[in-house]
Subunit: 96 residues, 2 copies
């Protein structure tokens, strides 16, 4: 069974452009990873400061490898200053 | 461009079984709807009381039709008593 990840970010207004730029690079590199089924950045239709990565992975091993990838370790720390509050990350297993 | 919906529910421990049962029916009927690309119930891997519907729709019109469908209007009110707090719903457009 694949797993889904939803990583919700509340981005500072003045940092939206920076965050999207960094995300573009992260998405491009991540989509090349083995076991990555889906990885995209989405924007809330009402609150434009909510930007969420919605992901699907073959299994937990692939997700762990992603967290340890060169691009993840290089790009994600550069995003740290973009957020109003802590990122909400949920890793999900399918029920129904 | 399709839209994604993430509807996160914090379910009361004693209501988990009821909620999953009702969701099964809702998923079964919703997957038959025109414009429904994905509609599934997911459980957080750490907090088993977080149950989230992750959805993808062709467009907003299809999502509106879903909210007005017979099964949605019949089943969703029966879930009202299952939640610890208000459902968090985000409707997302793809950015990257």
């Amino acid at each position: 069974m694949t797993i889904k990840v939803v990583a919700k970010h509340y981005v500072k207004p003045e940092k939206v452009e920076d965050y999207i730029g960094l995300s573009k690079e992260l998405v491009k590199e991540t989509l090349k990873e083995e076991g990555c089924i889906e990885y995209g950045l989405y924007r809330d239709s009402e609150n434009l400061l909510i930007l969420t990565m919605i992901e699907e992975w073959e299994d937990n091993k692939c997700l762990e490898r992603h967290f340890n990838s060169k691009h993840f370790k290089e790009i994600v720390p550069l995003m740290a200053d973009c957020f109003e509050k802590e990122v909400e990350i949920n890793v999900y297993n399918k029920m129904v």
